[in-house]
């Protein structure tokens, strides 16, 4: 997480971000008279302390660059949409905000398209300078009819011309000659393009039938053609294509750059919220519905049951490239407030009341980045560690780390352990780590020998092209540990007759045992990560001691080095059990270079 902060009282509705990482938020600030507070740093003429807010937060999320409030929902007719509903930012850092207000004294600027309040709640569009100290322009937008005119979404082109959509309650909502639909048939949606200086309408058109229609999302393609989404209750909605049975509940429409033609209009049985357009003109839409009559494509990851939908329409609107539910069965469908954004790789980010989900641009399938806990374990997973040691196995826990069923690595064509296992990789300090095991919740890997000498390294998991957050791991010269089972007094020990040391097969006092361990650090010969050790056998560079419970003398070491036939980093220590050891199940351990084994292994002695 980069930052997460509260931001005063109210309801945040829309967000934009500039190239420097400053975030711009708009919404409705809580009325001071009802006990709410919202920070205001910029006192504008006719500004207020409740109403539509616009706030700019620095890239660190630690301070407001500015915050201003315009309008007062307690003055004049109120509306549930009172406040800012859409926001965009241009390359100069000017913020464009649109919404709805019932405040008859909402601040406007001289020369703006509409400076006088039209008696009923209407829309507003203003442009705030980059420092939040002045309005570049501010205009109202609405008619004088009985109904409210509400702007619900905004976008801006490279020339600084704002596009808005919403719901027109006024039959005399301002439209422009030659626009696609100049007469309202019911309570229709509208689409408006405002000049860069806010003084005139480039075009303004209704969109709808004889029922109730509302625009909820708007986006532009590279040609300046506007894509509009929304909801409809008009059986005669002007659709050029229908996906699914009537009656429709939502629509996506595309207008010509001049606003004089409807290039396509698709109606379907889902309410649609935000829209985003990729560099090929494909339109991504987020919506919701109860599933009845909603088209779901054959490539959908989730064909039913979720509350939210993500769809992709072709640039010509003739094809539904994918349509998939996402979310959990039983979630309540949302009718509003669904956010959508695209990144530079056209991945889709969908926001609902539970969070943000990243989706594939090709299929709408949720993209699940690998995540793991920054605690590292030795291979027996007994003791969490802060770090890793060269050549030593390490285990991390998380999810989306590997296949659900889990897969154990075998030897690859080079005769060693590879660095990719079923699409999973672990990067340690920039080196690919040999993998032993990968499963959704766990990875076992071998720390590359190349990290020796470093103080700490970044560990990152890559799966299916998605990178986890990097976690910092300390690098220890050694992390000695005897390989063992956590219970049952079963350690990786062979008795002198080569049989496995068990409670029913103890080793004799005075006999020689072979202990298998890990975390010995650097060896006397250069190691190839993941290779199987053969002759010549490298020895440990640091001194080794093996201690036994209740005796002060160490066992006599006959060999301490790489374990032949095992992967590089696995150690074998041949040691004689001291004659003064008391028979039974005893603790024993290994010290390498003066560093002890923390796992307290168990040995069966007779």
């Amino acid at each position: 997480m980069i930052y997460s902060t509260y931001l005063g009282g109210g309801v945040a509705k829309a967000i934009a971000v500039d190239a420097a990482g400053n975030a711009y938020v708009t919404g409705a600030a809580t009325d001071v008279s009802s006990g709410g507070t919202f920070p205001v740093t910029s006192e504008l003429p006719n500004g207020g302390h409740s109403g539509a807010f616009v706030a700019k937060l620095n890239a660190q999320g630690s301070a407001l660059v500015y915050s201003a409030i315009l309008g007062d929902p307690t003055s004049g007719a109120g509306s549930q949409l009172a406040g800012g509903n859409g926001i965009a930012v241009d390359a100069e850092g000017n913020a464009y905000v649109a919404g709805a207000t019932g405040d008859g004294s909402f601040p406007t600027t001289p020369g703006a398209f509409q400076t006088a309040f039209q008696t009923t709640p209407g829309g507003f569009i203003f442009k705030m300078n980059s420092t939040g100290t002045a309005l570049v322009y501010s205009t109202l937008l609405g008619g004088a009819g009985a109904g409210a005119d509400l702007i619900d979404a905004l976008t801006v082109d490279a020339a600084g011309e704002a596009f808005v959509t919403g719901a027109a309650g006024s039959a005399d909502f301002p439209v422009t000659p030659g626009a696609f639909q100049t007469v309202a048939k019911g309570r229709n949606a509208f689409v408006v393009k405002l000049s860069a200086d806010g003084s005139s309408l480039r075009y303004s058109t209704f969109l709808g039938g004889s029922g109730t229609d509302a625009g909820t999302g708007i986006a532009l393609d590279s040609q300046g053609e506007a894509y509009v989404t929304g909801t409809t209750q008009s059986a005669d909605f002007p659709a050029t294509a229908a996906f699914g049975p009537a009656p429709p509940a939502g629509f996506i429409a595309k207008f010509s750059a001049a606003g004089d033609a409807l290039l396509f209009s698709d109606a379907l049985a889902a309410t649609l919220g935000a829209v985003a357009v990729d560099n090929q003109g494909g339109a991504y839409v987020i919506g919701s519905g109860n599933g009845q009559g909603i088209p779901v494509t054959s490539n959908a990851k989730q064909r039913c049951g979720g509350a939210m939908l993500v769809m992709k329409f072709s640039a010509d609107g003739n094809a539904l490239l994918y349509s998939s539910f996402f979310g959990d069965v039983g979630e309540t469908p949302l009718t509003t407030s669904l956010g959508l954004a695209l990144d530079s790789e056209m991945n889709v980010y969908a926001a609902d009341s539970l969070g943000v989900t990243k989706l594939s641009p090709e299929t709408g399938e949720p993209i699940t980045p690998p995540c793991f806990d920054p605690a590292f374990y030795d291979i027996t997973e007994v003791t969490p560690r802060a770090g890793i040691a060269p050549g030593a196995p390490a285990v991390i826990h998380g999810y989306n780390l590997g296949p659900q069923a889990g897969i154990t690595a075998g030897l690859d064509s080079s005769g060693g352990f590879g660095t990719t296992l079923d699409g999973t990789q672990v990067m340690v300090g920039g080196y690919s780590a040999p993998l032993l095991y990968a499963q959704d919740g766990k990875i076992r890997f071998l720390a590359p020998f190349e990290v020796a000498g470093q103080q700490q390294v970044q560990v990152e998991v890559v799966r299916a092209g998605e990178n986890s957050d990097p976690h910092t791991a300390s690098v220890d010269a050694v992390l000695p540990a005897i390989i063992e089972q956590p219970t049952g007094c079963l350690s990786a020990v062979l008795n002198q007759d080569m049989s496995v040391n068990t409670p029913t097969n103890p080793a004799a006092v005075g006999s020689i045992i072979a202990i298998y361990a890990e975390g010995g650090g650097q060896l006397s010969l250069p190691m190839t990560d993941g290779s199987i050790i053969t002759s010549p056998l490298p020895a440990l560079q640091l001194p080794v001691d093996v201690w036994f419970q209740n005796v002060s003398n160490y066992g006599t070491i006959f060999y301490a080095g790489s374990a032949p036939g095992l992967v590089a980093g696995t150690l074998q220590v041949n040691v004689q059990i001291p004659a003064n050891v008391t028979p039974g199940q005893i603790m024993f351990g290994i010290d390498i270079g003066g560093v002890g084994d923390l796992s307290l292994a168990c040995l069966n002695v007779k």
């Binding site: 997480m1 930052y3 997460s4 999320g61 301070a63 943000v356 986890s468 390989i483 020689i512």
Partner: protein
């Protein structure tokens, strides 16, 4: 009978032993609670794909993405959201708007998962 050479053993018994103890023990599965009844299952299922999660969002939620792929989200909540050290307003004091940004909010999701899994050592006896 094969005996350990005090200097070193080349016997394959070591490999078999190592395999049985280290490679073949039951894999840890953080999702072992899946399939059980209750809200936890619902959350954990959804958490697989949620890169920024919160509770109690009652108003609008909106998202934006910067050129680096960082996701910015805003909305309103009545139940609180985790905040970061040094944030502009780290405490919930009656205000309900929130704002956050992330690359891949794994830590938040992992923390939430821990609420529904008694221990990460679910594979151990």
């Amino acid at each position: 009978m094969c005996h350990i050479d005090p200097l070193v053993s080349h016997c394959c018994a070591g490999l078999l032993l190592f395999s049985s103890l280290a490679f073949a023990n039951p894999p840890l599965n953080l999702d072992s609670n899946r399939g059980q009844a209750g809200d936890a299952v619902k959350f954990v299922t959804r958490a697989d794909a949620v890169i920024y999660s919160f509770t109690g969002a009652t108003g609008g939620t909106a998202v934006a993405v910067d050129a680096a792929g960082n996701a910015y989200v805003t909305g309103s909540t009545t139940q609180g959201v985790p905040t970061t050290v040094g944030a502009y307003q780290p405490t919930f004091n009656g205000g309900t708007c929130f704002l956050g940004t992330t690359t891949a909010f794994c830590s938040m999701v992992l923390a939430r998962r821990s609420l529904f899994t008694s221990s990460v050592r679910t594979d151990q006896p």
